[in-house]
Amino acid sequence: MVLLGALVLSAVWTVLTARLLRSAAGLAITSAILTILMFQLSAPLAAVFELSVGAGLISAIFISTISLTHRVTTEDLATRLKERLHRYWLLPLILLAAGVALISIHFVLDVNPPALPAENDVRIVLWKLRHLDLLGQIAILLAGAFGVVTLFKEWKNGQ
């Protein structure tokens, strides 16, 4: 419960903070809290993935991109703060309203437990039942690598 609150708060901070670097750090914190929640929901392997990739790799990518693209002066920051306050003040109100509205719904979950005992070892599920997923993952990784190579190639020709 506390962790869920922390998750929402860090997500809101990620959106509201004016500096991009702090925003990237907020995303990493959100990811770390998500990892703890996934551990509690008995999904350790996915949690480790989320921690290493979500909190580690993606923050590194974001921070290096910010350092590549972003130059900010203090005057810039002051004007941006004012502008952001103007645009983002609605978010806490919307979240509060949505939270109250959703909590007040009396939701009854209607799920039947699986008829057969489910195969719960993620290694067996991943390698035996969902092996086509792995092919898809490899394909999408190659597509991503190809995309990045294409982008870099364009720069080399001086376009």
């Binding site: 869920l4 609150g5 998750l7 929402v8 997500a11 990620t14 959106v15 991009l20 925003s23 990237a24 995303l27 959100t30 990811s31 998500l34 929640l37 996934m38 929901l41 008995s42 999904a43 392997l45 996915a46 993935f49 979500g54 993606i58 990518i61 991109t65 590549l68 693209t69 972003h70 645009r87 983002y88 609605l90 978010l91 979240l95 949505a98 959703l102 909590i103 719904i105 939701f107 009854v108 979950l109 799920v111 699986p114 489910a118 195969e119 719960n120 993620v122 599920v125 991943l126 039942l129 969902r130 997923d133 993952q137 999408i140 990784l141 597509a143 991503g144 990045v148 982008l151 364009e154």
Partner: protein
């Protein structure tokens, strides 16, 4: 299903919905391309947690983890390519503010 499990599920769902609303809001209102990607990240994080939650509730934790891992891989590839596009936009326009990027006006 017991009402306790229902309540557990609903509390998680509300938190996930709030995270996703924050992500959507960021995506809709921002002018900065990197911040738009951060909003997209928040959306996928909410979805990952929802898949894991669904696996926990129905008892298929292995399957849910396999799905979540696939989602994480796709998320990383999408972010890497999108960041490459953002850097290339910056090199062309010297800005990542969408109001200042004139040459992609349709």
């Amino acid at each position: 299903m017991g009402s306790e499990l229902s309540q557990f599920f609903w509390v998680f769902t509300v938190a996930i919905a709030l995270v996703m609303i924050a992500g959507f809001y960021c995506l809709l209102l921002t002018y900065n391309l990197i911040r738009a990607l951060i909003g997209l990240e928040l959306l996928t994080k909410g979805m990952t947690l929802f898949i894991i939650l669904a696996g926990y509730i129905t008892g298929h934790t292995g399957l849910a983890q396999a799905m979540a891992i696939t989602l994480i891989v796709i998320e990383v590839v999408v972010i890497v390519v999108a960041v490459g596009v953002v850097v290339s936009v910056f090199r062309h326009n010297r800005s990542i503010d969408v109001r200042l990027i004139r040459n992609i006006k349709g």
